[in-house]
Structures are given as structure tokens and as C-alpha cells.
């Protein structure tokens, strides 16, 4: 691999960077020594190792950035983690709150089985070691949307540890190839979500809605194995797809079901890791990479100007496109972790250790869950490449859009056209139309059957490809007509009579001797003019390749 992280000139070149620079990122192994990166810090008053980056040495212009992520995914369940109130996105304020969620005295937590299963499945999908015994703890801090004054989480012994998440990035240009990177998953733990606070600065008050308080969250801690915004964004995207495939979370960032915090630091390659900052409020896929890249650049600029980086929490301002410090932490937070006294340890079993005569409702069998895991996105993509001979980028694109894979598979089922043709039509034409009109696959006016029929016509050479595009546009208008009907109405059928085509070609050649002479004199492109003329004469009903063939034959004779 070439030189480490390039010198970042301006954020505008991020696209180029993603293809070239990012691919040649200096890959380092697990960070040694420093404990500041990746750990879920701010947990104590204890000193964080404080490394000041050294002044830039003469001739050295390279920086390496290190990015770790903490991702909170809302578990897709009917009820909350420790209470029986409903989990629902939009509802009247405080209507989905039980006495336990409001932290009224005398209430106790009761663990939701579905949430445990979701955590185990996610752990298995990310190749984690599932801890057969895990513990619950209280993390104390005061904030108005945390009615109990503490959050029940799993700090000492989480439910899953030591996994990995694989994602693909595009490296190089022409030819670009897909390279698989992995990021280590430090741990996955179950924890409670807090309520929502709405700040009313005008009246100096905060309005609290506890509907979200108590919803089960999966916190996934990713080690700082990533080195730029693009890698982080891609890893998050892959995680989204995995969670959606498993059904453990809908992972919709817009609805707050997936929240990401990034821990970012920069350092000179070969030197110890730098001081890290935590960037919170990264709640949109679009701004995730942008925010991380901005922060990396900010740190580089700061250090190159002789300043130093503070170990602080920052938030990303979408409108300004920059990170700003958050004032809420006065000094270090001390969460005063203590064991949750109301919950015994969580024990998981496998087929070998299952206690006999146990109530199946009360035990969770990890082996059983492993068998029931659905196909993961990575496997689906490989299967598509194998089965239909498509490029990896295409399989990525198919999985990237909700419902697109299903659409594609339905078209394949009904058409006789080659899979490559189907892939091309679905990813280029169909998806292009959707994106232009900002529609989801479910809102498409063209059904898989309609597209399948159209592709059959094309396959039979009943119409030319340009005619097919015209038909597709008509179909999009959704007048209820089938492709065959449209073709008939607009007289788009290909000229089936070879004699007529020969006749037309001959007459065109005779009518335009200058062009013929031009061609004979060596201007190869003159043939296109002739093809165009013949096509006009046939009213667009002849296939250009067929025309070219006939013309060339006639000219050479």
C-alpha cells in the first residue's frame, strides 16, 4: 500500500479521495498502548492518556486519522426493554409510558425476551462471541429525559464481544475494484433509550416526552479501525443492511432508530495516537462522512498551526457544515457504574447446556437462533454475482435500495431475457426513473410483470432498444396499457421484412452519393450519417446494427 493518508486539501475533493486516497490508507493493526481511542471513555475521573502531537517535522506532510464508532440501534420490538409499554415512532406525547418508564417508586424492570434474542442474533451475524452470562449495570447521570437518574446498561459484561463487520470500498480508478475491509466489533450490549427533550429557548424550558424512554437499544462499539469518513459511512451502511435483514432493527436514521457517535483522532504514522474528540449528533447518513472528514481536517489544521486538540465532545452543525463544541460536559462525566440490583445475571444456553425440563419461554438457545438466522447481505450479494454473473457493484446497488432486489427477482422470474439485460435495465433505466422523480420502489408505476413483458419483446427482437426506451416512458405514465399495446399503437415494431430494409438502404445510398464518396475516401464516421438517414426513412423501426450490417455489405459489393 502506498503512502498513508493524503494531505487533505479541501472537503470538495472528497469523492476523489474516497476512490484513491482512502484505498491507499495506511492500514494499521489494533492500536497498541493508548487506551483513549475506541473505549467508551468519559466514564471516570481517571486520567485519559494525553498525547500531544509533536510539531510537524520538516518534510513530513502525512497524517493518519483514526475513527471509532459507537452506534445505537433501536430494537424492533413491540414493547420496551424492561416494561410492557408500546414501541412506536409517532404517538401523542407521554401516551406510551408505563409507571416504570416514568420511574415511579415501587416499579421494577422485567426483561423483554425479544430484545435478548435481537441482541444474540445481531451478535451471531457479526461473528461475535456470545457471553453465556452477561450482567446489567446502572449508569448514572442527571438529565431531564432520564427520569430515574440512571440508565440500565451492560457495562461490565455485555452480551456479545469480539466480532467483526466486513464492508466493501471501491479502490483505484479504471479499473476500480471492490476491496473488503473489516472493522472489529468490540462489544454489543443491551441498554435503555432515554426520553426526548424539546428545547424551548424562548421560554427557557425543556419539554419532555417519555415515549422513547425505556425502548431497547443495541449499542455496538466499533474499534478505531477506520480511517476516514467514507469508510465509516460505508461500515454504518453495511450494518444498517445487516440489521434490516435480521429484522432486529429498522435502522432508519431519519426516524432516529440508528444513531452514530464518532471518536476521531489524528496522528503522524508511526507515532502514538493523538487526543481524540467525540462527535455526537450524527443522525443522517449524508452528513456522517462529511462530519467525520471535517473533524479530521480541523484537527490536522489545528495541529499544524501549533495548537492542541482537547479531549472534548463536539456536535455537527448540518447547516454550517462544521463541528462545534458542546457545553454540556463540565469537566469529566463520572457515571458511577454499579450493578443493577434488581436484575440477576442473564444466562444463555446452547443445545448442549439446555437444562432439561426447562420452560422454553424462559430459556434462550443460542444454537437455535443461529439456525434461524436469515441470509445476510454479504451472502446475498455473493449469490447474485454467482447466479446472474453480475458485477459486485451491481449486487451492491441492488441491495442498497429498499425493495429493489425483490423487484429484480420478480422480473427475472417472468422474463426470458438474459439476466445481464435485466440487471442493466433495472439498475440504469428503472432506478434512474425512480431517482429522477424521487420515488421509492414501492411507489413505482411500472410493475415487474410490465418490465418483464417489455424485455421479452426486446429479447425477441420485436422492437429496437430505443423503441423499448420509448415504451418504458409510456409505461411510466401508467395509462394502464401493456407494452404490447403501446408498441402496436405507436407502430414501434421493428421492420421484419429484410427485403424492404435492403431496398431502403439501396435507395439511401443512391440518394446521397457525397456521403458515400466521403466514406470511401476514408472517413469512417460517415457511415453513421447513412445509418441515421436510413433510420429516418424507416421511421425508427429498424435496428441500427442491422442497418449498419446491410449498408456495409452493399457498399463493399
Amino acid at each position: 500500500m502506498a503512502a498513508p493518508m493524503l494531505r487533505w486539501c479541501c472537503p470538495g475533493r472528497r469523492f476523489a479521495f474516497a476512490w484513491v486516497g482512502c484505498g491507499s490508507c495506511h492500514r494499521r493493526g489494533p492500536p497498541t498502548g493508548s487506551t483513549s481511542n475506541g473505549k467508551r471513555g468519559q466514564s471516570s475521573v481517571a486520567q485519559q492518556p494525553h498525547f500531544t502531537a509533536q510539531k510537524p517535522r520538516e518534510g513530513e506532510h502525512e497524517w493518519a486519522a483514526v475513527v471509532g464508532l459507537e452506534i445505537h440501534a433501536q430494537i424492533a420490538s413491540n414493547s420496551k426493554l424492561f416494561s410492557g409499554s408500546q414501541v412506536h415512532f409517532a404517538a401523542p406525547p407521554n401516551s406510551l409510558v408505563s409507571f416504570f418508564d416514568a420511574s415511579l417508586p415501587g416499579t421494577l424492570p422485567v426483561l423483554n425476551r425479544r430484545c435478548v434474542e435481537a441482541a444474540v442474533m445481531t451478535g451471531l451475524a457479526l461473528d461475535c462471541h456470545i457471553n453465556r452470562k452477561s450482567l446489567f449495570d446502572r449508569k448514572h447521570y442527571f438529565y431531564a429525559d432520564l427520569p430515574a437518574g440512571y440508565q440500565i446498561t451492560q457495562q461490565r459484561l455485555p452480551i456479545a464481544v469480539n466480532g467483526s463487520l466486513a464492508y466493501s470500498v471501491c479502490v483505484g480508478r479504471k479499473p476500480s475494484r471492490m476491496v473488503t475491509r473489516t472493522v472489529r466489533v468490540k462489544q454489543i450490549q443491551l441498554e435503555q433509550d432515554s426520553g426526548k427533550s424539546l428545547h424551548d429557548d424562548l421560554r427557557s424550558q425543556t419539554l419532555i416526552d417519555l415515549n422513547r424512554a425505556g425502548i431497547g437499544l443495541l449499542e455496538l462499539v466499533l474499534e478505531p479501525d477506520m480511517s476516514c469518513g467514507e469508510e465509516a459511512a460505508t461500515a454504518v451502511r453495511e450494518l444498517q443492511l445487516i440489521l434490516q435483514a435480521l429484522g432486529t432493527s429498522q435502522a432508519n436514521m431519519a426516524e432516529g432508530q440508528l444513531r452514530v457517535d464518532a471518536n476521531i483522532s489524528v496522528h503522524r504514522p508511526g507515532e502514538p495516537l493523538g487526543v481524540r474528540t467525540e462527535v455526537k449528533n450524527l443522525n443522517s447518513a449524508r452528513f456522517l462522512a462529511k462530519a467525520i472528514d471535517y473533524e479530521i481536517q480541523r484537527q490536522i489544521n489545528e495541529l499544524e498551526n501549533g495548537g492542541e486538540i482537547l479531549n472534548e465532545t463536539r456536535s455537527f452543525d448540518n447547516r454550517l457544515g462544521c463541528t462545534v463544541p458542546m457545553r454540556d460536559k463540565e469537566g469529566r462525566q463520572d457515571y458511577r457504574f454499579m450493578p443493577e440490583p434488581n436484575l440477576p445475571p442473564l444466562l444463555l444456553y446452547d443445545s448442549g447446556s439446555l437444562p432439561s425440563g426447562a420452560d422454553p419461554q424462559q430459556v434462550i438457545n443460542v444454537d437455535q437462533l443461529r439456525e434461524r438466522l436469515p441470509e445476510l447481505p454479504r451472502v446475498t450479494r455473493e449469490r447474485l454475482v454467482r447466479q446472474y454473473g453480475m458485477l459486485p457493484e451491481h449486487s451492491c446497488a441492488l441491495l442498497n435500495e429498499v425493495g429493489l432486489l425483490e423487484f429484480f427477482q420478480n422480473v427475472i422470474k417472468e422474463t426470458r431475457a438474459e439476466p445481464k439485460k435485466v440487471t442493466s435495465w433495472v439498475l440504469n433505466t428503472f432506478l434512474g426513473f425512480l431517482k429522477q422523480r424521487n420515488l421509492a420502489v414501492s411507489e413505482s408505476p411500472v410493475t415487474p410483470s410490465a418490465l418483464a413483458e417489455l424485455l421479452d419483446l426486446l429479447d425477441r427482437k420485436a422492437i429496437s432498444s430505443s423503441a423499448a426506451k420509448q415504451v418504458f416512458e409510456e409505461l411510466w405514465r401508467n395509462d394502464g396499457k401493456t407494452p404490447a399495446q403501446i408498441v402496436a399503437e405507436k407502430k414501434l415494431e421493428l421492420l421484419q421484412d429484410p427485403e424492404a430494409l435492403e431496398q431502403l438502404c439501396r435507395s439511401t445510398l443512391e440518394a446521397h452519393p457525397h456521403v458515400v464518396m466521403d466514406l470511401k475516401r476514408g472517413n469512417a464516421r460517415a457511415i453513421n450519417k447513412l445509418i441515421g438517414l436510413v433510420r429516418k426513412a424507416t421511421l425508427g423501426r429498424a435496428d441500427p446494427t442491422a442497418i449498419k450490417e446491410v449498408l456495409e455489405r452493399q457498399l463493399s459489393s
Binding site: 414493547s79 450482567l135 424562548l202 457545553r327
Partner: protein, 161 residues
């Protein structure tokens, strides 16, 4: 803000505050203050207090504790009581626990009950809101805090955290 929150939580200031927290919580807090060799080693109060020495608690530590726990150590008597509590907890160190697995919970032999994922509670907003001193349109009202600095947010009256 801390006094407001204290008030809303029903905590009284002064030495009574030290009796307010439940025994187990106070015990745990004091134990954490005192124990230096905790297995995790994350709590480094050694830099601020001097548990093995005079048993005096510094003003800096008091401030820190007040901020964390929202308990007002108003009087000298309160600080003295705290020091006595720390000394009391220090006696734990007299016990040799080398090679002994710590007990995390008296419930460790109990079975953790798993509830099935059904909706059985909620829809009692009115009842819950009755507990609140101030209410605005079915929201609880709290004093502001923990907002980011960006002055531009002034234009937006509501921002989600």
C-alpha cells in the same frame, strides 16, 4: 440548576441530605470512593482524595461530588459525616480478598425472568402528568440544560437532542 433539580427531587439540603439516599446507594458510593484497587481501576479518586492518609476530604472533591450527586454538602458537619463514612468503608480493606470472585448481586442464583414481547401497559398520560409541577400540552416541563453552544439555534425554537 442543581438546586432546582434537587428541589424537584425532594432532596433537602444540609446534613439531612446524607440520610436521604438509600443505604445501599450510600454504601456503594462510599465504597467506591474508598476502594482504590477496584477490579476495573477506572475510578481514580486517588488523585483527589487521600483515603489512606488523613481521611480528609478536599474542597475540590466536595465540589465534584455535589455536582455528580446533586446533594448539597452544606455544612462542615456534613463533610465530617462523609469522612467518617469513608473511614468506615475503608475497613473493608482489612479483609484479604485475593483470588476470591466478587459477588455482584445477591440475586446471582436467581433466574432472570423473561417477559414475552406484548404490549400491556401505557396510555396513562393524564395520570402521569399529574405528578409534574409544570405541564405544557402533555409534555413534562423541565429547566433547560445541556444544550450546544451554536447561537444559530436561537432561530429554531425547538431542537431535538
Amino acid at each position: 440548576m442543581s438546586s432546582l433539580l434537587s428541589a424537584s427531587r425532594g432532596l433537602r439540603t444540609g446534613e439531612a441530605a446524607l440520610r436521604r439516599p438509600r443505604r445501599s446507594e450510600m454504601w456503594a458510593r462510599a465504597a467506591h470512593l474508598g476502594l482504590r484497587a477496584a477490579a476495573r481501576g477506572r475510578r481514580g479518586f486517588t488523585s483527589k482524595a487521600d483515603p489512606q492518609g488523613s481521611g480528609r476530604v478536599t474542597g475540590e472533591l466536595i465540589q465534584h461530588l455535589e455536582r455528580l450527586s446533586l446533594v448539597d454538602f452544606g455544612s462542615q458537619e456534613a463533610v465530617a459525616r462523609l469522612e467518617k463514612a469513608i473511614a468506615f468503608a475503608d475497613r473493608l480493606r482489612a479483609v484479604n480478598t485475593d483470588g476470591v470472585e466478587p459477588m455482584e448481586s445477591v440475586l446471582e442464583d436467581r433466574c432472570l425472568y423473561l417477559r414475552s414481547d406484548n404490549v400491556v401497559e401505557g396510555s396513562c398520560a393524564e395520570e402521569l402528568l399529574q405528578n409534574s409541577h409544570r405541564v405544557v400540552e402533555e409534555y413534562f416541563v423541565a429547566p433547560p440544560g445541556n444544550i450546544s453552544w451554536s447561537k444559530l439555534d436561537e432561530k429554531q425554537p425547538f431542537s431535538h437532542r
